[in-house]
Symmetry: C2
Subunit: 120 residues, 2 copies
């Protein structure tokens, strides 16, 4: 199947994703990807965790984003997500030291918030 | 579906996988996971790259392993792969500075070597 043939350009290292900047559609920087949360059994990336903050003693806020939400933009050299700041403020998030229970209810809630399918 | 319900224990951070030691069934250390190669479109981890060496000017050898080959062993605090050293020596590998073309042919070859399905 020619159309689905894959090349090295279809594959990316986890080390390149980690640290990549994330912007909104207006080009404002929202933060950067800190880590990927992977389903142990299937090897599927369930979330890319966007983090920002960590200054003025406020702690770091972390936003798990569904993989499908991230679109790479070569001009910005980072991911662009279809979220304005108000949308992001209302999104599921947690402080660095208090991760959520990553169960199906949480997965459905995160994916529904961003309007993408939860396939687990 | 109760049986497929997921919890935080079913999810692992890419940062925890990177650096995790890898052993063979006899308990010999083979190396450690350096990075994950992820399918950009689907978010599926296609390979966990095992690396070892990097001393005596020999360069670092890297072995892409299918995700399904890795089994975590809590006693060893690392992954155990069903490979003796002879099997690993014959496995698809590359030197650090010379990555392969990660295309479907390569994917099929790697997965066939380890006897697991290539699902792309």
């Amino acid at each position: 199947m020619q159309a689905s043939a894959t090349t090295s350009r279809d594959v990316i290292s986890s080390e390149r994703v980690e640290g990549t900047k994330v912007f909104n559609a207006a080009g404002d920087k929202l933060g950067s990807i800190d880590e990927l949360m992977i389903d142990k059994r299937s090897g599927q990336v369930r979330y890319a965790v966007l983090e920002f903050g960590g200054f003025l003693g406020m702690g770091t806020e972390r936003y798990p984003l569904p993989w499908d939400v991230l679109k790479y933009d070569t001009t910005l050299d980072g991911y662009v997500v279809p979220l304005d700041k108000a949308k992001l403020e209302g999104a599921p998030n947690y402080l660095d030291e208090r991760p959520p229970e990553y169960d199906d209810d949480y997965g459905r809630r995160v994916h529904r918030y961003y309007g993408v399918d939860y396939w687990m």
